[in-house]
Symmetry: C2
Amino acid sequence: MSSCLFCKILEKNIPTDFVYEDEHVAAFLDIRPTKKGHVLVIPKKHSDTFLKTDPEILSHVVHGVQKVAHAAVMALGADGCNISVNNGEAAGQVIFHLHWHIIPRTADDGLVNWPHTSYQDGEAKEIAEKIRKFL
Amino acid sequence: MSSCLFCKILEKNIPTDFVYEDEHVAAFLDIRPTKKGHVLVIPKKHSDTFLKTDPEILSHVVHGVQKVAHAAVMALGADGCNISVNNGEAAGQVIFHLHWHIIPRTADDGLVNWPHTSYQDGEAKEIAEKIRKFL
């Protein structure tokens, strides 16, 4: 048996509320949902994080995410949804098998998006230049 | 001139700190960053939301997101990053041209991920069944 929780789920060794499955991806309810109907979409081939994933697999997963997000919004009668991936412990990733969160949202449901800050003069240009050096 | 802010940015009609551009996507600093180095990645072909976007374009964008996220993490010396898309006003979408947020994160940087709730007995099965009906 795999030591990865999501690989165990894929091996059907753990009771799971699946909503979708195809050759490349699977989707199931998060057992600790931010909102009811919060779904996780994962690649069947294990990959620790988004950054380490084969781009071809990312294509399969993002197509699955689109299908499942549409279905979750329709099923829950939601007004929209947030789609997110946490990369690394510092970003809140707990299970190290790539997973995309789909969180159905309704207007005034109480969830608050993160706050914003601003750049000082010249700071944005410097940061953009730093990032470009890695591209 | 387009009426869409991000289309105007693509037409280079607005001063913007670009970090990446290829045939299909462009990436630039968010002017109201959640964290310094917060980058937006957008498709060049206009699409209002993630759910309405041609799957082939989603593939291009997700590949761009991976490249740019790697660069942003490296450039900022970050420990990880969050990647997210807000679909619809209820989910916090403000500009209706598909955009992916990349937010570099460091351990203990003060951002708090959303809280969790739980399902009552049988509720998760019911919701999963509802979602499956749309797939």
